[in-house]
């Protein structure tokens, strides 16, 4: 089975977020870029597990510049067979990125396209659904479990306050959430072999964005926490009622 895993690069979770150029651009200075955790922990690792169980190949695809290559190699170190980077520099919205990946996905004949439930910087959850539409495949979102029997997948997905179990035949697009797999740490063999695995750079189609970010804003600074003595917890309830008007 041929797996394609979409990987995005995001600032490390602990990054202090700031902006430059009149708050119109994210401040890249000293930012450590990592694989989007949901793409890595859930989508990539589950694809690798399925490959290990039933055979096949796992390709990762990223849209971005050469600066991304080092982080893309981490996906190869974890176990992907090869990588494709669609050479885009500058800003691109989720539609533009989905369109670029769609072109690669269409020509590759993949049985399953996986990605994380969202990125931790844009939090849009847009890419999977857009990609599925652009290449005319079924889309299953927020999957927490995926088992294959032949060409049929049985999937558990999160719904509000519960779960749904469904079946779908390959090929399909699936966005992955907690429960799909556990994070893997690359071993030395993986890291060494990643250096020689193919990382193919392809030219973009040049599909434009439908949206643009005008500016960014940080939330207002939080005022100091009001401490309530532990021997008078009922005071908290009074404040929540009278001051905060929350209850």
């Amino acid at each position: 089975m041929k797996f394609l895993v979409c990987i995005s690069l995001v600032p490390d979770t602990t990054t202090k977020i700031s902006f430059v150029d009149n708050d119109t651009k994210f401040n890249n200075d000293k930012v450590q870029w990592i694989l989007n955790p949901y793409d890595e922990w859930y989508a990539l690792v589950r694809a690798l597990e399925l490959k290990e169980a039933n055979g096949g190949t796992v390709t990762v695809v990223n849209v971005g510049s050469a600066a991304n290559d080092q982080v893309i190699r981490k996906a190869l170190a974890i176990g992907a067979d090869d990588a494709i980077r669609i050479d885009v520099t500058g800003e691109a919205d989720s539609f533009s990125i989905a369109s670029e990946i769609a072109a690669v996905a269409k020509s590759g004949g993949y049985d399953m396209i996986l990605l994380g439930k969202e990125t931790i910087n844009y939090n849009g959850s847009n890419l999977g659904g857009m990609l599925a539409e652009l290449i005319d495949l079924p889309f299953v979102s927020y999957a927490s479990k995926l088992d294959m029997a032949g060409n049929t997948a049985t999937i558990e997905r999160d719904i509000e306050g519960g779960k749904e179990v469904l079946t779908v035949d390959t090929p399909f697009v699936i966005s992955c959430a907690k429960g799909m797999a556990e994070a893997r740490i690359p071993n030395m063999k993986g890291i060494m072999s990643a250096k020689t695995k193919p990382l193919n750079v392809v030219a973009p189609q040049g599909v434009g964005s439908l949206t643009s970010v005008v500016k960014y804003e940080l939330p207002p600074a939080k005022s100091a926490c009001k401490m309530i003595p532990a021997d008078h917890p009922e005071e908290l309830i009074r404040l929540l009622h009278e001051e905060a008007k929350m209850i």
Partner: protein, 322 residues
């Protein structure tokens, strides 16, 4: 021309997030001098849909096909896109819920309509919309540059504004797209308590509880408040609490009015899922717990002593209100 909004249905009722989507669509429709028109798919009593008039809906289109009772992103997309074309919608409003996230991007790609997902404000005259970004650590203002526009609104961000009125319900015939996924089973938590993403009040607890057998005091406090219970990641990983209760970066991101965190230290990944709560209360025995930095109110002390007293105080308050 109309502002179209997508109505989510569960067990024959309109979901709470859709009241807010209705209010949002109505407010924007008013701003640009158009009507807010809803689309509802599947089995639901028309009276439930007409009641959306109190949130500002002018009209609701109802496609009652049985096929829509089981969810299929492709099928829903075709239906919404077809209706959007029929009513000549220039804006489509979704809720940024699990269902919204499964449908809105697909509709966006089908109609080549730019999308702002995670909106927390109305569009301005240039269709610039404020949205959450960086897992709650910042906001982005996103401009949509296409003639048809899609906005997906974060639950409990805009609020549902109740007025008076009744929406006209019009039955529409839609040709359902062929099913591509087969839903086998749906399980939802039972009872009247709002599911986490929609909850206004949340009582959450962590490893400080020492074991699942101690959760009674958390459930008592939640029950007294009418709140939904939640938990931290270690607690879900240890199977002390069900997976769907896990809030934080890898679990559910929530935005309640009140978030009470009990015995949770406040790791950055946990904060990422709750930092947009309007009011945060932290109860922890460690005064150095990082969560206090993000809190509005805090108590340092033994939760096993404090929580039952809070429950008593809530009960006394509620008794005084009646």
């Amino acid at each position: 021309m109309a502002v179209l909004f997508f109505i989510e249905i569960a067990d024959g009722k309109v979901k709470k997030a859709s009241f807010e989507a209705t209010s949002y669509a109505a407010a924007y429709a008013k701003q640009i001098g158009k009507d807010a028109v809803g689309i509802a798919l599947g089995t639901i009593d028309d009276a439930e849909l007409a009641a959306l008039g109190v949130y500002g809906a002018t009209k609701v289109l109802h496609a009652g096909n049985k096929e829509f009772d089981s969810f299929d992103a492709n099928e829903y997309t075709k239906a919404v896109a077809d209706v959007a074309t029929q009513v000549n919608a220039d804006t489509i409003v979704f809720s940024q819920t699990l269902t919204g996230k499964a449908v809105a991007p697909v509709v966006s790609a089908r109609l080549k309509a730019g999308i702002v997902s995670g909106a927390v404000s109305l569009p301005d005259a240039d269709f610039v919309v404020k949205k959450t970004a960086f897992s709650g650590k910042a906001f982005a203002y996103v401009k949509v540059n296409t003639s048809t526009k899609i906005v997906s609104v974060v639950p409990n961000s805009f609020g549902a504004t109740k007025g008076t009125g009744t929406a006209t319900v019009e039955s529409v015939t839609l040709e359902a797209a062929p099913n591509r996924v087969t839903v086998k089973e749906v399980t939802r938590q039972q009872g009247d308590i709002a599911p986490l993403p929609e909850a206004e009040l949340v009582v959450s607890a962590g490893r400080g509880m020492k074991g699942p057998e101690n959760w009674g005091i958390i459930e008592d406090l939640a029950k007294a408040l009418g709140a939904t219970t939640a938990c931290s990641r270690p607690v879900a990983d240890l199977h002390w609490r069900p997976h769907y209760e896990h809030v934080g970066q890898t679990g559910v991101a929530i935005r309640p009015n009140l978030y009470i965190a009990i015995g949770i230290s406040g790791a950055i990944q946990h904060l990422a899922g709750v930092n947009q709560s309007k009011c945060i209360v932290v109860i922890n025995k460690d005064p150095e717990a990082p969560f206090f930095k993000a809190a509005d109110y805090g108590i340092v002390g033994d939760l096993f002593e404090i929580v039952p007293k809070l429950t008593e105080a809530v009960k006394a308050l509620k008794a005084g209100q009646h």
